[in-house]
């Protein structure tokens, strides 16, 4: 187990800056998920931590020791790859013990560690098979076994679940979570799937255009996104973002959607600094806060009549797309709510969990 610190890490490919002054401190035993859209630099960052790619500038410290010039094998890390990267010519047993053998671990010790890992991952019956004879989920387990057996201080996962089918993905996700609980090792996990990130992480770092957009606990990112990118990226369906402006009248502060007449009261919103009257803003509201009026509790509420344009049934709830002025608004309604596409209906906004962003800087107000 170890802590990991990244200081002002920059990576350039030619003129293109892939990572721009990344700073990150990962505590001992933490499960940090790096999440972002394709091409945001998250895999590059992981490869640099592993030592497979070199940084343009910046520092990487494992347990306070700078490892920039340390060979990957001496960094005491293990990595699980998206494609599993099992050695096709070796049996599962040899795949798992390869790392121990090349490090000259004594034979009995290898057997002992192999037994422990195959027990933990329930792959005892697969040991004499070749990777080609395994299913995707089994390969995934073997790949994790190969990482676990070395008992490294830091685990790196590079989109390990993205090649699995949906059901298996959920299963393995739970398994990884359990494993982390049991072993308590430091994990850095890369994914483009925000659901996976929310489920697994103790902290999430959202990466976009080579910069960390926000770093924090999953719930904090969900409730208090720092900027428009994070607001749109975290959560599924995504947060509804309505452009408009702020206006104060009758001693209250209101949000007025771009082209509408509605005034949504936002007095209760904890502004970081007092906004200017008429300031152009983006109003963010989570789909679960757009629902039937009777589902909305508390004082901070708003009601409006909207037309349901499309209805998606999920079993436990319904995702409904409403037209609201020029924008589209996704709401989550109870499964039992009787509604018909094309019909107008009363919709309630729960305003207790809204986010308001400056339209120019795209930052949270």
């Amino acid at each position: 187990m170890a802590s990991l610190e990244i200081r002002a890490l920059t990576k350039k490919f030619g003129d293109v800056t892939v990572l721009d002054h990344i700073g990150l401190v990962i505590q001992d035993g933490e499960f940090l998920v790096l999440v972002g859209p394709s091409g945001c630099g998250k895999s590059t960052l992981l490869n640099i931590i592993a030592g497979l790619e070199s940084e343009t500038c910046g520092e990487i410290l494992i347990d306070g020791r700078a490892v920039n010039d340390v060979h990957p094998k001496d960094r005491d890390i293990a990595m699980v790859f998206q494609s599993y990267a099992l050695y096709p010519n070796m049996t599962v047993r040899k795949n798992i013990t390869f790392g121990l053998k090349v490090r000259n671990t004594p034979g009995p010790k290898i057997e002992e560690m192999l037994a422990a890992v195959s027990d933990l991952l329930k792959i005892g019956s697969l040991l004499d098979r070749k990777p080609a004879q395994l299913s995707g989920g089994q390969r995934q387990r073997v790949a994790m076994g190969r990482a676990l057996v070395r008992d490294p201080s830091i685990f790196l996962f590079d989109e390990p679940l993205s090649n699995l089918d949906a059901k298996l993905r959920v299963e393995m996700r739970t398994e990884i979570k359990k494993l982390h609980h049991r072993l308590g090792t430091t994990i850095v996990y890369v994914t483009h799937d925000q659901t996976e990130a929310m489920n697994l992480a103790t902290r999430i770092a959202v990466l976009h255009q080579g910069r960390i957009q926000q770093l924090g606990a999953p719930q904090h990112l969900y409730d208090h996104p720092d900027n428009l990118f994070v607001a749109g990226f975290i959560g599924s369906p995504a947060m509804n973002l309505l452009p408009g402006s702020l206006s104060s009248s009758d001693g209250g502060l209101y949000f007025r959607p771009g082209d509408g007449e509605d005034l949504i009261r936002v007095d209760h919103y904890p502004f970081r600094e007092a906004p200017a009257d008429g300031a152009p803003v983006v109003f963010g509201i989570r789909p679960e806060c757009v629902t039937l009026p009777r589902e909305v509790e508390g004082q901070a509420r708003f009601e409006v009549e909207l037309v349901a344009e499309a209805v998606e049934t999920n079993g436990f709830d319904k995702h409904v797309a409403f037209a609201y002025g020029a924008s589209e608004l996704i709401g989550r309604l109870p499964a039992k709510a009787g509604l018909v596409a094309g019909q107008p209906m009363r919709v309630g906004f729960d305003l207790s969990g809204i986010s308001i962003f400056d339209r120019r800087s795209e930052r949270r107000l």
Binding site: L52, K73, R146
Partner: protein
Amino acid sequence: MLWLIVVPALSTAFGLLAAQLTDRISWGNIAKSLIFMPMAISFVGAAVIWKLVYDTRPIEQEQIGVLNALYLFFGGDAPQTWLTVPFWNNFLLMAVLVWIQTGFAMVILSAALRGIPEETIEAAIIDGANPFQVFFKIKAPQIMGTIVVVWTTITIVVLKVFDIVFAMTNGQWETQVLANYMYDKLFRANDWGVGSASAMIIMLLVTPILVWNVYNARKEMR
């Protein structure tokens, strides 16, 4: 017999080495073209070129053969007639074929090496393997099928080798090979019986290797 072991082994080994090294350097493609170039030369042409390399002139004259020139430069007392030294002259002839076939082996093996998933190599590096272990335990086993195909293909070429021996020594000084022997008996000695028999033997030797080669090549394609 010696040909069957030495030529495929050296060609494949050099080809693999060249493939591995040229993949890692910036001017690798130029190097590859140079190594591949002999493939474009006919066997007779290559034999003539190498005969000049092994050429011998009387001691009072300037040596035009590179081998003798080097030999004298490094303190040899008299120029040698290399191609007449029994046993070793076989290797001098084989060098010609190795020179030609290395390019072929390199091109095929280099393509195979590039087909290895990069992540298995990265995984091995993180696992702690040194470059030799990565090459012999991770890369080589993954392209074993291709190595076998290259090896058997070159073996077949070796069984058929005729032009090089014909042009350089004509089988004299204990450098005889099957194909040249067949030619000698069939067209020079007019001994059709022995000539046809040696032709049959060549065919019998080539057939199983050819079958195996095709089998492996198909397996590779799958």
